[in-house]
C-alpha cells in the first residue's frame, strides 16, 4: 500500500531502529552460546589462572601477556629469585589490551608487581578488536569482560563482530561447549577445570606436558613444554616464507594500546602496585636477529617510540632474542629449558629495577649482552 512521503520516511526510520534493536537482541542471545564455533581451551586456562591468582593474599607477582609468557616464564624460578608468590596469567596474544586491563583491575592489589612481557602485535593493534578476540569474548567473555565495558566500547565491540557470526550463533546445530576442536571433550565449567588442574598436580610431582590444554598447567599457571624443538620451529628458521619478523616499525605506537596501557599504569599507581612492561621471548632468525645492527635499531626505535608516549620498555632486549633450539612449536613458545633461561634473565632485570627504583633506560651494550647470552644459551643447550 502506498503511503505519503512523510509516512514513508517515518516508517524507514522505525525500520532502521527496529533492525538495530533486533540485531543487538540477537547478539546478546548468542553471547556465551555453545553454538558459537569457538573452543573453550583458552577459557579453561583462564578459569584456573584466575582461581590461582585469587588464592594469593600477600603481595604477589603477576605475569600478564600472551602465550609467550605462558610457555616462556617459569614461575618457580621467579618465586625463588624475587621472593614472592607468582601467578602466571599469560594466555593468548589475541586477547586485547583492554582485556588485560580488566584482569589487572580485578586482581591487582597493594604491593603487587605486574610484569607484562607483551607480544609485539600489541603495539601495532588497531582501534578495532581483532576477530579472534571477538570470538573468544562472544563465547566466554560476556560476564568477565563485555559487561564491564563502557557503552561506547560495547558498541565498538558489537561493530567489530562479523555479522555472520551472530547468524551462525543463532542457527548452528551444535549444542555443546568443546574444549578442543579435534576432540569432542566437553567443557566442565570453571569449578571442574580447577578441580582437574589441582588433581593433575597432586597426582604427579610434576605436571606432564599434554598439549594446549589446562591439563598441562602447573599450579602457578605456567605451561612448561618439556619436549624437543618441533619441525615447525625449524621451518620458521629455515624457510624464508615462514619467517616471522614480529613487528614493523611504524611512525607511531597503536593509540589503542597506549590508551589502555596508561589505564593499567594509573590503576597500579592508585593501588600502590608496580607495572613493568618488558620484552617477549623471540627466536633469533632472519626475521628478528639482534646480533644484526639493523634489527638492533628496529628494537631501539620501538623503545624510543614507546618512551615518547611516556611508556618504559624495561630490561635488556638482547637477552630475550634466543636460539631457536630453545623454542618448542611457534615463534613465541619456548620449551622448558628456554623458559628457565628467559626467566632467569627476567628475574635479574626485575631485581635490578627493584634496586634502582627508577627508569630502566640506559643504552644497551649489545656486544656484551650478546656474549653473556651466548654463554647462557650454551649452558642450557649443553644440558
Amino acid at each position: 500500500m502506498k503511503s505519503s512521503p512523510r509516512t514513508f520516511l517515518i516508517l524507514s526510520l522505525v525500520a532502521f531502529l527496529g533492525f538495530g534493536v533486533a540485531y543487538i537482541l540477537a547478539f546478546e542471545r548468542v553471547l556465551g552460546s555453545p553454538k558459537l564455533r569457538v573452543e573453550y581451551w583458552t577459557k579453561a586456562l583462564y578459569d584456573y589462572k584466575y582461581y590461582a591468582a585469587k588464592q594469593i593474599e600477600e603481595p604477589k607477582l603477576i605475569v600478564l601477556a600472551g602465550s609467550n609468557g605462558m610457555f616462556g616464564i617459569n614461575s618457580n624460578v621467579l618465586e625463588k629469585r624475587m621472593q614472592r608468590q607468582t601467578v602466571n596469567l599469560a594466555l593468548h596474544a589475541d586477547l586485547d589490551i583492554s582485556f588485560l586491563y580488566q584482569q589487572a583491575d580485578d586482581l591487582l592489589a597493594e604491593g603487587d608487581l605486574l610484569v607484562m612481557p607483551l607480544e609485539y602485535s600489541y603495539y601495532e593493534s588497531s582501534d578495532s578488536f581483532n576477530i579472534s578476540f571477538v570470538r573468544y569474548m562472544m563465547a566466554w567473555g560476556n560476564e568477565i569482560y563485555l559487561k564491564n565495558l563502557s557503552l561506547l566500547d560495547y558498541l565498538g565491540f558489537i561493530k567489530a563482530v562479523p555479522k555472520l557470526e551472530v547468524w551462525l550463533g543463532l542457527v548452528s546445530p551444535s549444542n555443546f561447549k568443546r574444549l578442543d576442536r579435534t576432540k569432542e571433550v566437553l567443557y566442565p565449567g570453571p569449578d571442574g577445570i580447577v578441580r582437574e588442574v589441582l588433581r593433575n598436580n597432586k597426582r604427579r610431582n610434576r605436571v606432564v606436558f599434554s598439549g594446549y590444554s589446562h591439563n598441562s598447567l602447573n599450579l602457578n599457571g605456567d605451561i612448561m613444554a618439556s619436549r624437543s624443538t618441533q619441525q615447525s620451529v625449524r621451518d620458521i628458521v629455515s624457510l624464508p616464507e615462514k619467517h616471522d619478523s614480529y613487528f614493523e616499525v611504524k611512525d607511531e605506537i597503536s593509540p589503542h594500546f597506549i590508551r589502555h596501557f596508561k589505564r593499567i599504569q594509573a590503576l597500579a599507581e592508585e593501588r600502590g602496585a608496580q607495572v613493568v612492561l618488558t620484552w617477549p621471548a623471540t627466536i633469533r632468525h632472519a626475521g628478528l636477529d639482534l646480533t644484526k645492527r639493523e634489527d638492533q635499531l628496529r628494537i631501539e626505535r620501538l623503545r624510543s617510540l614507546l618512551s615518547a608516549s611516556g611508556i618504559d620498555l624495561a630490561c635488556n632486549p638482547g637477552f630475550f632474542n634466543l636460539d631457536h633450539r630453545l623454542f618448542f612449536d611457534t615463534s613465541y613458545h619456548l620449551r622448558e629449558r628456554g623458559a628457565i633461561l628467559r626467566t632467569e634473565a627476567l628475574a635479574q632485570c626485575l631485581s635490578e629495577l627493584d634496586q634502582q627504583k627508577g627508569s630502566s633506560h640506559k643504552p644497551v651494550d649489545w656486544a656484551k649482552s650478546l656474549k653473556i647470552l651466548s654463554h647462557h644459551e650454551s649452558r642450557m643447550l649443553g644440558r
Partner: protein, 502 residues
Amino acid sequence: MLFNSPIFIFVFLPLVVLIYALLNRGADKTLAKTFMVAASLFFYSYWNPIYLPLILASILVNFFIGRRLSVSYQANKESANGGRKRYLLLGVFFNVGLLAYFKYVDFFIENFNVVFAGNVETLNIVLPLAISFFTFQQIAYLVDCYKEGARQYSLLDYALFVSFFPQLIAGPIVHHKEMMPQFLSQTGRGVNWEFFAQGVTIFCLGLFKKVFIADTFSIWADAGFDSESPLSFFEAWGASLSYTFQLYYDFSGYTDMAIGAALMFGIRLPVNFNSPYKALNIQDFWRRWHITLSSWLRDYIYIPLGGNRAGESRMLVNLMLTFLIGGLWHGAGWTFVIWGGLHGLALVAHRLWSKTGLTMSRAVAWFVTFMFVNAAWVFFRAESLDSAVRMLSAMCDISTVRFGDIFLGVMQYYSPVPLPSLPVASGALIVSIATLQHLMIFGLVALTMPNTIQVSRYILYRGRFALSFNLRWSLVVGALFFISCATFIGDSHPSKFLYFNF
C-alpha cells in the same frame, strides 16, 4: 567532511537541511542562500581550512571575469572583440594555472629530473580538495559567457553554484545552465517531501554501496595492488576485478549520496552513472561512466579541437588528445596518461571497427568491452608502471593456477565445522572465497540489475524494482541504512572516496 562520516550524516546534513528549510520559507531567499554558501564553505574547510582562501579567490576571479565577458557580449554581439578573447584567455589561464601549480608542478619536476638528470627538489604540494572539479565547472562557465553571454548572476548565486556542498568535492561536474535556474526558482516553498523522501532513499543506497560494497572490495584490491610478492593468476584477477567493482561502487555510491543530499534541498543534480559495466562498446561505456566528465570533455576539449568537423583522421587525433587530457586530469602520473591513452586508442579502434560494418554478438561485445575496461583500470590503480605491468603479467600467467587451492579454500570456507587438518590455501590473504562470493553477488548486481538511479526513479523507470513509498521500501531503506551504520560507525577514520584523490 566525508559523506560517510557520522558527523556528516547525523549532525551536519540534518542541521543544514532543517535550517535551510526554515530560512527558505519566506519570500526573501537571500538569507537561505547565504546560509547554504556558508554551510558549504564550512563543509569544504572542515577538512583543511588552509585552502578556503583558494576556493574563495577562484570564485571571485571567475565571477568577475565571467561578468565582464557577459556584459561585453551584450554590448558587442556582432563584433569579434579581441579584448573579450583576452579576458577569456586570462580566465582560462587562471584556472588552468591553479590546477597546474597544485596538481602538476611536482610531476613536471620529477620528469624534468629524469630527462635532464636534474636534481630539482619537488615542492611536495598538497592537492587542494575538489580543485579539479570546481576548476572545470568554472572554465565551462567562462567559455559560455564568452560564446553566449551567459546570464549575469549575482555573486551570491554564483558562489552557491560553485560551492553547493553535495557536488563540491567530487562532482557530478555541474553546468551553470542546469543549476542556476533551480537555485533561482527556489521560492519560499519549504520542504518538498516527495523530493526529500526520494533523496533519503538515494542517499541510503549510495551509502550502502560505498561502505558495505566498495570498502569490502577495497580490502582485496589494496592487498593485491600493494603486494610486494608476486601474485598468482587468481590473486591478480581477484585484485583487478575487486578494484574494477570497488571503483564503480565507490564513485557511483558517492554520486548517489551527492544526488540524494541535493534532492533533500529540492535540487536535482545531473546523472553521472548509468550501469557502465553493461556497456557493449567503449563509446557506450563513456556514455554511462562519469557522464558529466565525458560531456565536459566533449563540449570543452573535443569540440573546440575541431571534433569531427575536420575530417576522419583529424577526428581520431582529437579523440586521442581528449582522452590523454582526460587521463591527466585524473592524476599527475604516467599511469593516468597511459590509462587515458588506452581509452583514446580503444575509441579510435571502435570508430574504425564501426566503419567496417562488421558486427559481433552482444555477449562477445560486452566481454571485450568489460575486459578492456578492467585491464585499463590496472594502470589507473597501480602506483607505478612496473606495478601495472606486473599485475597484467600475473593476470596472463596461467602457470600459477592451482585448482587444489580453490578446492581447499571452498572446503575451509563453507565447512560448518572448522577443518584443522586441511592446509591453508596459498594466497588466502589476498583473495579468498569471500572475494569470489562478493564478486559474484555484487558483480552480478552491477551487470544485470537496474541501477540506483533507475530503481529510485530519478530517471524514467517502470520496472518491478521501482521505488514506491510503501512498507516494503521502508524496510529496504531502513535495512540498508542500518547495515551501513553498523559497518562504519566506530571507525576512527571513515574511508575516503577514491575520487577525492583526483
